[in-house]
């Protein structure tokens, strides 16, 4: 029997609370800017709150949120006169240990398509099949992106102490 996903405000708030961390971190990795990430996260959840879409499951909501986050992140740069005020490196430098920040910024330097799958695979612990489903890509494409992303990271982090 199919579970009915309620459209109540309370339920939506629960979902926001549950997935806030995931969406915000994904937005940071996509936009490379804290302010932009906040705007994107806010947009995504506002869209979710206003959405009348019939979700089949919580997994469906999660997939939708991830896709909307990626799209909103792309849109925020559509205008040439949006520009960053504070580079992410400066904002996060104080928050992250040096070694971790090297790894993190190496990921941020990857092209967006590789960065997205790397983030979802390594931080969100999603499987290749899940990433393929969420991003509406073939599994083979996701594997290719993961492989190329890893290769680029390896080159970028060469010289760092045996990071595997």
């Amino acid at each position: 029997m199919e579970r009915v996903i309620p459209k109540t405000k309370e339920y939506k708030h629960q979902i926001i609370e549950k997935y806030f961390n995931m969406i915000y971190k994904l937005a940071v990795s996509q936009t490379k800017d804290i302010s932009h990430a906040e705007d994107v996260t806010s947009d995504v959840f506002l869209k979710y709150m206003q959405s009348e879409k019939e979700f089949e499951s919580e997994e469906h909501i999660k997939a939708w949120l991830i896709r909307v986050t990626i799209n909103c992140s792309k849109n925020i740069f559509s205008s040439s006169w949006f520009k960053k005020t504070v580079p992410l490196e400066e904002t996060l430098a104080a928050e992250m240990p040096e070694e971790e920040s090297d790894v993190y910024f190496a990921v941020l330097k990857l092209p967006q398509k590789y960065r997205t799958v790397i983030h979802l695979f390594y931080y969100e612990d999603l499987s290749v099949a899940q990433i393929a489903e969420y991003l509406k890509l073939n599994e083979s494409t996701v594997r290719t992106h993961l492989h190329r992303g890893r290769s680029l990271l390896k080159m970028s982090l060469e010289g760092e102490d045996e990071i595997v």
Partner: protein, 342 residues
Amino acid sequence: MKLFKDMYKRANDAISTDEAYNRIMLKLEKPPVNTKRRRAAEIAALAACFIFTFAAVNVYNRYKELPKNSEIIAEHTQNPQSGITKMPENTDTASETDTVAESGEAAVVPQDKKADAAAVPKNTTTAKTEDVKTTASPKAEKATEETAAAGKSVEEKVAADAAAVPQEQHKEVALQEKQQLTEIKLNSLNSSGGGAFAAALRIAEEQDVQVRKVTKDEYYKYLGRNIEQEVIIPDGFANTTQDMLVMELDGENNFADDRWSFIFQNNEKAVEIITTKDTESVQMYIDREDYLKSTVCGIDAVVLNDAAYYKAYIVSQDIGYMITGYGIEMSDLEKLLVSVAE
């Protein structure tokens, strides 16, 4: 040997989300708009609320000052020019009983009653005819019919009634009169476009606040810029800005609040430009550290992009602009901002 996965996770976990969470939740609690259509409706509702508020306050104040019942009747009977018009003889609904004329502004009279209203002697200083629909008591209805049949005026009948009715009925009539007069005020303010101005002026007078009617042209002279001519609004937008505002003055006869809202609408899309010479109130937004800065023709601006609208703050030529674009394209906003900045 360190695992990339662990390090990447720790790095992500180090990014603090608490402040962002609070800010975003606050924003979600009060979402700016649900849909573009709703936004347009809100603008219209806001205008209606503005007029209604003035009307309600004014009616309340007037109601408090209403003369006692006996005074009303005395006035009606003693002064033939007090403004009660003759009831049209062909009135076929019991609810429409009376048409009252008094000093004021525009005339709002149904077509079949205009002739009657015109026949009434008018106040020499000002003239106003207002229409009111009230529910008459069976007695009043009967009295009206009798009066019409006898060829007597309503004034005469009221006077006769005042003398004839016992004390209790007298009170009832007084209550009805008060109710009628209250509704007259409400109707006049709701039905006439200039009602809000008149109400604002009256309230200001009563509350001893200095106000002045300001036309758009006067405001442009004050601002040093003609917004409607110099700012590029997207094609197809109709200018729905008010031509006149009642503005409060401070002790030195300057505008206490000089903001003027220019509104342009195109079905569900709208652009609102609020201007002020109080540039600090706008600069405050531009200086906020958590807002992204943009540069328009070398001038700092802040542009916020929400799900349903753009909001922009910019100061140019000593004028502060707060611009909101509902359902418009980013390219349109860019053109608008460039025209503001140039």
